[in-house]
């Protein structure tokens, strides 16, 4: 039954991806019930992508239908958590580049920062277990080891390195030149730390038994007591690394 509906009827709604949002083209002369049903059917499989995105609504060059537009906005925002719905008009699109900037500006102001992590992606290689002497782990993303890193083991990550355990091996975060990367370990006793292009040997262990956080400051690797310093405490929103 479902199939025949799709094939026999001309669909009232068309959806396509535009830039980092969606463009919804619809025929406002169709019954509202049908339109809302079709929008729901189209957005349902895209639920995970639609959060915080902007949707441009194109109903053609017609006037009126304010109720319909309001209902569609309500549906998209309440059910699919979209960031903002704006109406596309021939006038705006005629301006060309400006239209893009207008849309961006408005959609950004609508974006919910507190939920930015829902759509922003972050890659991390998360491993459990012990990394033994002679073993090398290399990744372009962040690296999280739930376990210990023994002396003689080597970790290299394009991003940050977090060790939920004892770090006794050699680590290279921010490979090859990201000096904003950090290294963190619950027990921080590495043989060598490199962050971006800065190398540190003979790490002094003034924070024995405490979680330590290592970053680059003034071209030097600085280690700090993680709990005391709270390096991420000032960030207001959950933000993707």
């Amino acid at each position: 039954m479902e199939k025949s509906l799709v094939t026999n009827e001309i669909s009232a709604v068309k959806l396509r991806g535009v830039g980092d949002g969606f463009k919804l083209t619809l025929d406002p002369t169709m019954p509202e019930e049908v339109i809302l049903k079709e929008i729901t059917a189209l957005f349902e499989p895209l639920k995970h992508l639609s959060v915080n995105t902007k949707v441009v609504l194109d109903i053609g060059n017609v006037q009126g239908y304010d109720n319909l537009i309001r209902d569609i906005k309500f549906l998209l925002k309440s059910r699919f958590d979209v960031g903002g719905v704006i109406q596309h008009s021939e006038k705006i699109s005629g301006v060309g580049k400006d239209s893009g900037s207008t849309i961006n500006h408005r959609s950004n102001s609508n974006k919910d920062n507190s939920r930015g992590w829902v759509t922003d992606r972050s890659d991390a290689l998360i491993l459990t277990g012990r990394v033994r002497s002679g073993q090398k782990i290399e990744t372009q993303s962040h690296l999280i080891i739930a376990g210990n890193v023994n002396p003689g083991a080597e970790l290299t990550a394009g991003g940050n390195i977090i060790v939920l355990g004892a770090l006794l091996g050699q680590v290279y975060a921010g490979y090859p030149d990201d000096e904003y990367a950090f290294v963190m370990a619950l027990d921080f006793r590495p043989t060598q730390v490199q962050i971006g292009g800065v190398v540190s040997i003979e790490i002094n262990s003034e924070f024995v038994g405490k979680p330590v956080f290592a970053t680059v400051k003034d071209n030097k690797i600085i280690t700090e007591d993680y709990i005391k310093t709270q390096p991420f405490g000032k960030i207001q929103w959950p933000t993707v690394m």
Binding site: R130, R132, S133, G134, N148, N150, P151, G152
Partner: protein, 267 residues
């Protein structure tokens, strides 16, 4: 029933692989098993000396693998311990003369004839190590309580896991007095880094030197603490895993403790 091939390895040299192989092999044979100890340290053979069988070598493991003789011709029977056999290494070849395939073929034959086949691996992680572990069912990693030995053991453990062999650890040459003073790593420190199953703890024992020089197996000397530790290790391998692991403790050497020991008041 098919026997088990156990490789004794360490990565680092001089930590007691050969002594452990000879002792565990002899102890397993004393328990009534048919045991073959194989010296895989081609070019630097020692196991024959430790077992006191160096004068009886005609063929060696290289001859067997390269089909210059039968396995039975290379097996040297120990006269003191029934059911203990040695296949010596070659002293004149180098480690490249063996191939993993050849070793596997001989290992299969050994497995069908013996309950336990203990392979004494050479130091290092190169070809000699590869040849030793290729046919192994189990592995014993020997480690002394020092940082360099632990690092090498750690590397070897990683390599063994990569071959799907689960190793067990023997910490050798523990000097309890030094551990008590904090001058030597304790077995707990070693376990913290290596985190594998502990098979046994062996104290430092002067008798090892005597035993190696005289070719008298350590486990046959009842007063040897290391010998006793190896006998317990053999028992754990031989289906008695519940035997508690004894932590070597410092001997009291003071005047009063000697007297109370004599009187049987303390141990």
């Amino acid at each position: 029933m098919e026997g088990k091939i156990i490789v004794v390895t360490s990565g680092k040299g001089g930590v007691g692989k050969t002594t452990a192989t000879a002792s565990i092999g002899a102890a397993l044979a004393l328990e009534g098993n048919r045991v073959a100890v194989i010296d895989m340290d081609i070019g630097l053979r020692n196991l024959d000396v430790v077992l006191g069988l160096e004068n009886r070598i005609v063929f060696n493991i290289v001859d067997v693998v390269n089909k210059r003789c039968n396995l039975s011709q290379a097996l040297i029977r120990d006269r003191r311990i029934e059911n203990l056999f040695l296949v010596p290494a070659s002293q004149s070849d180098n480690k490249d003369v063996l191939t993993p395939l050849g070793v596997q073929r001989v290992a299969k034959q050994l497995k069908s004839e013996f309950d336990y086949v203990i392979m004494d691996s050479p130091a290092g992680i190169e070809k000699g190590f590869e040849n030793s572990v290729v046919a192994a069912d189990e592995a014993i990693v020997i480690c002394t309580p020092d940082v360099s030995s632990i690092r090498d053991a750690d590397r070897v453990i990683g390599l063994l896991y990569a071959r799907s062999i689960t190793p067990r650890l023997v910490v050798n040459r523990i000097i309890p007095e030094m551990v008590a003073r904090g001058d030597m790593l304790s077995h707990e420190d070693v376990m913290d880094v290596l985190s594998i199953d502990l098979l046994g703890l062996v104290p430092m024992d002067d008798q090892v030197v005597v035993s190696t020089n005289t070719g008298m197996p350590l486990v046959m000397q009842n007063q040897s603490l290391a010998g006793q530790a190896f006998r317990r290790i053999a028992k754990r391998i031989n289906g008695e895993p519940e035997i508690p692991i004894q932590v070597p403790t410092a001997m009291k050497t003071g005047f009063w403790s000697k007297i109370t020991q004599k009187l049987g008041l303390t141990k």
